[in-house]
Every structure is written in C-alpha cells, then in structure tokens.
Amino acid sequence: MTGLSSPILRASSTLAFFMANTLSLYLLLRGHHAPGGGFIAGLVTASSVVLLGYARGPEKFGRVLGADPGLIAGIGLAVAGATALVPILFGRAALEHFFWILGNNGWSFGTALIFDVGVFLVVVGVTTKVVASFAASSCGLPALVAEEERRYSSPSEEPLEGTRAN
C-alpha cells in the first residue's frame, strides 16, 4: 500500500527536502544571536522528513533517516544532557554556556550550539518516530518492526486500524 504516493510528489519531495534542510541549517546556526535554534530547526527538518516519508509510502517511512529515529532522539538527549553535566565537572553551574569570537571576520562559536544540536536531534527523532508509527498503523501495517515490537510494545498491542499484516 502506498497511500499518498504519486510520481509528482515523489519527484518534488527530494527537492523540497534539500530546500527545507538548507533553511533548517540556517535556523540552527543563527539560534544563538537571532530567532531560530535547535527546536525550530528540528521542526523544519522533521517536517521535511515527514514529507519524504509520505512520498515514499508508509512501509519505508520509518527508514527514511537511515537509522532508528528513537536512537537519534536518544543521542540528542545524551548530547544535550552532556552540556548540562560537563560544566558541573569543571565547577561551573549546570547548563552554563561559553562563547568565543573567532578572529575579525565576524565568526563566533558558542557552546550553546552543542546543546541546540542535541535539541535538534531529539525533535527530529521523536517527530519522525511518532508520525511514522501513526502512518504505518493507520494503513493497517504494524507500527513497529519485529525487533522493536519485542522491545517497546505491549504484548497485546495491535495496529490502530485494520488487522496485523504479516
């Protein structure tokens, strides 16, 4: 079952994916000084991933990112958590951030960017996982792959609509 898929959508979604992610990268990098940041960049990227997923169909949705979205979210949480922990180890306040100006060309780097990347990964991972599960589940497919099902789901869980396809 391919649901929404059409050749036009499939062709344009790749283009839209790259355009959206250029914007997302811009939003992520400017977050320290101007409106933007990890959360909003994550949402932009997540919506592009969702578009790509719908274009490719619910069977391939969960694998659009090439890795388990749950794992991506976990790594993001670990990165963000590390920025809280590391300053404490050096005797500073939790989540304290530092900022350097690199040369005279207007470049600068803040450790807040690391935290933002963590947030970005969490948002992308969680959104993709949730939408992919719902997409699969509402097309009568199992929401989780067999291994995940053993790991994460309740023994009595069934797809939201239709019966379990084997």
Binding site: L71, G74, L77, A78, G81, A84, L85, I88, R92, A93, A94, L95, E96, H97, R151, Y152, S153, S154, P155, S156
Partner: protein, 505 residues
C-alpha cells in the same frame, strides 16, 4: 551555589539514557538500574542532611538570572521529599528486579522509572513555575507509558481516563502559568514573592491561585476530581503501582503546599476554606471507597485518595502547626503506601489474584509478610505508637486550635474508615482460612520480594522510634515553606538583588 540540586536531576537522566540504549534486559542491566537508583537515593539523603536545620541550597541553571534563568532551590521540605521519593523508587526498582527473571522484564520499564524519578526530583527542586510544569509533564509522560507498556486492552481502557484527565489538568496548569507571567512578568518563585506584595487584594491573583489549586488538585486526586485514580492504579504491575502510589499524587500535594505556603501571600481565606472542605469530603469519600472494594490493590488505590484528603485538611488551616502535620503525614504516607502496594504484589504472586474473597490463610503460610503488613497497615491507620499516629495527632491539635471541628470530624471519620478497610484486608487475606488452599511454593523469589519490602518497613519503624526528630524535622520544613522572605532572599543572594525589580516584601 551548590551543584547538588542539579546533580539530583542529572543523575537519573543519565541512568535513564544508559538504560534506554542498553535495551536488552539482563541481570547486569537490572543491577545497573538498582545501583543507580540507590546512588540517587544516597545523593538525595545527603541533600536532606545538608538542609536539616533549615538551610536552603540554591543554584541557577546556566548562571542566568531570573526571570530568564531557572532556579533550583532545595529547602528541607524538598530535600526530604526527594530523599523519600528516591528511596521508594530504589525499593520499587529492587522489587521489580526480584519480581521476574530479567529476560522477561519489559525493556522500557527501567528507563521510564528513571525518567519518572528525574521528573519528580525536578518537581521538588525547581524554583520556577514553568519548570514545575515541565517536571510534572516529564513525570506524567513517563507514567502514561508505564501504565500501558505491560497491559492488555482491558487495562488500556482504564488508562484512558487517567491520561485524559491528567492532560486536562496539564492544560489548566499551563494556562495558569501563562496568566502568572502576564500578571507578574516572571515565573520565578522568588521573583513572584517579591512582586506579589503590591498585588494583595487584586482579584486577578485570587483567580490565579484558584486555577493553580484546581490543576494541582487534579494531579493529587482530590474529590470530585479523583475519578481517574482508583480504576487505573490497580491495573499497574505492583512495582510500578508502588512507585505511582508513593510519588505521583504526592507531587500534587507538594505543589499545593509550595504554592499556598511559599509562592503566594497567605491572603486567600476563601480558597483555603474551599480547599479544606474539599479535603474533608475527599477523606471521607476515599475511606468509603476503600471499604467498599474487594481487591487489595483497589482498596489501596482508594486509600490514596483518602490520605490525600487527610494531608490537605491540616494544610488548609494555613497555620504553622497545620503545615507541620500535613508534611509529616505526607512523608509517612509516601513510604507506607508504596510498601503496602508491594505487599499486595507479593500476595498477587503467591495466589495469582488479590481478590479478598478468594485468598486467605497468609498468616500461617507466610508470617513474615503478615508481620510486614501489620506494621505498615496499622501505621497507616495511625494506631499509637506507630509512626502514622504522630502526624494525625498533630493534625488533630492544629484543627482544634483553629476551632475547625467539622474538618476534625471528617478527618476522624476518614481515619476510622482507613482502619476498617485495613482490618478487612487483615481478616480476609491473613487471618481467615483460605477458601482455596494456598499453592505451596518454595520459590525463593517471594522471600527476596518480602525482604525488599522490609527496607521500607525499617524506614517506617525508624520514623516510629525517631518520632521526636521526625516531628522536629517536619516543623523545620513547615517553617521553611512558610518563610517567604527567607526563600526569596536565598535565591536573590545568588543573582544579586539589583538585577530584580521591586523591593523585598
């Protein structure tokens, strides 16, 4: 600036992450989980030791000053709440380690329990209203997942009201937080204390206090907003039920104490009066519900509601003595309630059911368990000299001092109903002969589970033997919660007073 409050939040986050990545259950993983929950309990007890004379430990996240930064403030009430909550969690984790072989455990249970602990610690430590909301959400989202991961469709049906009503409560809380920001221009507790001085008598502030109390009452399970609780908790696995019963509703009570005692000035007699009468109804309804039920875990779930009423009754007096009693009952209840749920879990493991009409003869079959139950149940009911008695005595004293005889009567009725339902469990499950012969088992698992429960039992007995110091500690905690100036100053010292608008209250 002390990093300890932040560490108490970061430690469970770290262990939850490790357990999330380490997805395959094994004895080693369970050991890791137990080890980290014990480490976290030790850290929280260390915090409690540091604050036992009324000291306040505070730190600002990221060294930002309010209203942008988030303050973590640990006073004696928070510290002891954290210590007891993490002890209960450690026991529940150990219990679920013995409950079933590691290979059969659900891989998400441990990460979720640790996430829930992180949320609870943040809720107790935070000095910021929006952050309190976030902490509530972390705890609740973990609890939603815990409620459904090991359940069948019948149990999921009972989880739906739990999730739905708590979402309504969260929406209400979030709305209130937005309104607080629009009225005060800040969400930091210390900052609100400073700015609320000039707003006393403003109806907008009264409105805010009412909405916040309503939101916290939903989380605490106050009648008539209690319906989600007594049907959803019994569907949980015993270890999780112990954690929920010892923790979740208590965070709601803590938030009410913190809000009425510390954050807002004591200037809303109508709200306190209403809260007191709701608590009185809660105490009686919870007790009646408990007497009417037939399964151990159902009875205990209804008890939670009754006990919430008994905690809020003295708190609604808004006197130092009332808060002392409320805090003592709250602390005692966290330990006793979760150990009773765990005892229910052992009964369930022995008989395969905890329906009172089907079980019996446990006094003969496992006298050790009967002893544990007797101590905890009659301590909960408040029989002297067990630890539950002292909180009730203080509550009685506080109520009579303020001539609130209606509330005192409601509390007494609630207490008697608690005792009746406990005697009901004792008679049917322990003293009476079994309807069906209890399956004889030599399973060492049961012994280990009972031994785990005795950790909490030792805590209860410790509270009995050390009743004097416990009462003193709860007096210190009550004084700390009601000392608005001291709370504000300890945070403002950290950031420099010149960075805040307005003078001291």
């Amino acid at each position: 600036m002390s990093p300890l409050p932040a560490m108490a939040v970061l430690l469970p986050l770290f262990s939850a992450l490790v357990l999330f990545f380490w997805a395959k259950p094994s004895p080693l993983r369970s050991g890791f989980s137990v080890g980290f929950s014990v480490a976290q309990a030790l850290l929280c007890w260390w915090l409690a030791m540091q604050t036992r004379h009324g000291e306040i430990l505070a730190c600002m996240a990221g060294n930002w000053s309010p209203p942008y930064g988030i303050a973590l403030v640990v006073d004696p009430l928070s510290a002891v709440m954290m210590a007891l909550a993490s002890s209960v969690a450690a026991t529940a984790v150990l219990f679920s380690h013995y409950e079933m072989p590691a290979a059969r455990q659900h891989p998400l249970r441990m990460p979720l329990v640790h996430t829930m602990m992180m949320g609870a610690n943040l809720a107790f430590a935070t000095g910021d209203l929006f952050n309190l909301f976030v902490a509530f959400e972390i705890t609740l989202v973990a609890s939603y997942a815990l409620m459904v991961i090991e359940s069948d469709s019948w149990e999921i049906r009972h989880a739906v009201p739990y999730v739905a009503i708590n979402l309504v409560g969260s929406a209400l809380f979030l709305t209130a937080a937005g309104l607080v920001y629009s009225l005060f221009g800040t969400l930091n507790f210390a900052d609100i204390i400073v700015r609320s001085g000039s707003l006393v008598g403003d109806p907008r502030m009264t409105f805010l206090v009412i909405i916040l109390c309503l939101a916290f009452s939903i989380k605490a399970g106050v009648v008539p907003l209690h319906h989600w609780l007594p049907n959803s908790y019994p569907t949980l696995p015993p270890a999780c039920a112990a954690l929920f019963g010892g923790l979740l509703t208590k965070i709601g009570v803590y938030a009410i104490l913190r809000c009425l005692g510390t954050v807002f000035p004591p200037a809303f007699p109508g709200v306190y009066e209403a809260l007191g009468w709701l608590a009185a109804v809660t105490a009686v309804v919870g007790g009646l519900g408990a007497v009417s039920r037939d399964r151990i875990r159902d009875i205990l779930s209804f008890h939670i509601i009754g006990q919430i009423g008994l905690m809020l009754l003295p708190a609604a007096l808004m006197t130092r003595g009332g808060f002392t009693a409320a805090i003592l009952i709250l602390w005692h209840n966290m330990v006793v309630k979760s150990s009773l749920f765990l005892i229910g879990g052992v009964v369930l493991a022995i008989h395969g059911t905890d329906r009172l009409s089907k079980i019996g003869g446990l006094l003969r079959a496992s006298p050790w368990l009967a002893g544990l139950f007797a101590i905890q149940a009659f301590s909960l009911a408040g029989l002297p000299p067990l630890s539950g008695f002292w909180g009730k005595l203080l509550a009685l004293e506080a109520g009579i001092t303020r001539y609130e005889y209606g509330w005192v009567a409601a509390g007494m009725i609630g207490g008697v109903l608690t005792l009746i339902s406990m005697v009901k469990i004792w008679n049917s499950a322990f003293a009476a002969a079994s309807v069906e012969p209890a399956p004889t088992t030599t399973d060492t698992r049961l012994w280990k589970m009972a031994a785990t429960i005795s950790i909490l039992c030792v805590l209860t007995l410790g509270m009995t033997v050390l009743a004097g110091p416990m009462v003193k500690l709860s007096r210190v905690a009550a004084a700390g919660v009601m000392d608005r100036t001291g709370y504000a100053e300890s945070v403002l010292e950290l950031v420099g007073k010149d960075r805040l608008g307005g003078g001291m209250p």
